[in-house]
Symmetry: C2
Subunit: 227 residues, 2 copies
DNA sequence: TAAGTATGATAGTATTACTACTAAATTTGC
DNA sequence: GCAAATTTAGTAGTAATACTATCATACTTA
């Protein structure tokens, strides 16, 4: 059977976790644990216990837990990029592509059997709750220099390219796309935890929540483009 | 001389820092230190050294450093609310009020002599870089229950009220306002650290950066409202 | 079969977040 | 004006975290 994997930036890890069983277990159980505990309460000690290994063994793969989070989130953006490509290649014009991009960003994330040992639903919850922690640090500039944000950047660039094709005079395509990518996460979080900051009602069926989210993001993007 | 202060939620602190000299120094030096060190590297030990006191003394005012951050950010939202009221009371219609609200949100924050021992410029940098850390935690729901997010929520409600007056049929006024409040911070951060995610050029004079930020936010809000 | 590499086990360090306890200073009652 | 009550400061300690160093063992491959 052929295994599809993403080639991620080498600076994300010390030893490539995709090449060994221990490495794969670190990713798999790491996602599970961060999802359950939250990033602050997640430790390599707990992860080592979970994968039946030891703390120093984990440190041989990742410099620290922040790098592991970076790795997971970089994987997520690669996955989004891949899904966007799958969904847009056959489309004729940028308006259609943009519409599909918004769908891909806002739709419910479900387990993708193409990638075993990655639980995309849990990973999406991690992105919603922990993404900001990858760049709101004292090391942003170094991490950016090292290319750790390449995934988010290239996804943003791709979609803002559609905006540029549709409305070449609009001066803020990158800002617009980074804003809606983040807003899609934030609004899901707010609808669950700070409902006063959102109009997506928690009680709605999940599919309906994602429909509303899509409608909200569309109201922004097509509002900006409408003249 | 009359002292203007904000009455903040009592659950934010153990002892009201506004009532004692030590308390005021904790706020003043706390803002300075978090601004310099970043929240992760900020500790009560370092703060105690800075204010010439001891760790346990600080703990008598705030349960932990997260609560101190909450306090500062709650103060910031109260200040924003106060500035919004000052700027909008005399205005005749919701469109004008909305326009002014966007200006208040996006304009450069300068030291406000009304409030001694609060450096609003530093506080704004803290809000830009650390706001998310107040709610992206395992305790959001409890903290929300305790009313710790009241400031952000009431500011959002006030501005989304203008939206509702202008366009009663628009279904996402709260989502729109929370999104632009956060986006205003994020875009400032991106322009400095992840320029690929923004169209606000770092090299521009600061005043010009804030003009562009305002233009970007206006493009979203008035795009949505335009029919 | 020897050499190299990956993993495992054990122990140790500096820092952090927080607490219990004691000492000193200040306020208040009379 | 002074003892008692109360507030506030300071000392010392703990458990947990984020690592690092060292050594042993197993597995792999030239």
């Amino acid at each position: 059977m052929s295994q599809l994997t993403f080639k991620l930036n080498e600076r994300l890890y010390l030893r490539d976790p995709q090449t060994t069983i221990l490495g794969q277990k670190i990713i798999e159980k790491g996602i599970e644990l961060i999802d359950i505990l939250g990033f602050e309460h997640f430790t390599f000690k707990k992860l080592a216990a979970e994968v039946g290994s030891t703390e120093p063994s984990i440190y041989r793969y990742f410099e620290n837990k922040h790098r592991l989070l970076h790795y997971m989130i970089a994987w997520y953006w690669s996955w989004m990029d891949y899904r966007l490509d799958l969904a847009t290649t056959s489309l004729p014009n940028p308006v259609e592509k943009l519409r599909v991009a918004i769908r891909v960003i806002t739709e419910e994330k479900k387990y993708d059997p193409t990638f075993q040992h990655v639980d995309e639903e849990a990973l999406h919850r991690i992105v919603v709750g922990e993404l900001e922690k990858t760049y709101l640090t004292k090391w942003v500039d170094d991490d950016n220099q090292a290319g750790l944000f390449g995934g988010l950047k290239s996804l943003t660039k791709k979609i803002s390219g559609y905006i540029h094709e549709i409305a070449p005079d609009y001066p803020f395509p990158n800002s617009l796309i980074s804003t809606i990518i983040l807003a899609a996460n934030e609004q899901l979080f707010f609808s669950q935890h700070l409902p006063a900051l959102s109009n997506i009602e928690k009680q709605l069926p999940v599919a309906e929540q994602h429909n509303k989210l899509k409608a909200f993001i569309e109201s922004i993007v097509f509002g900006v483009l409408r003249k």
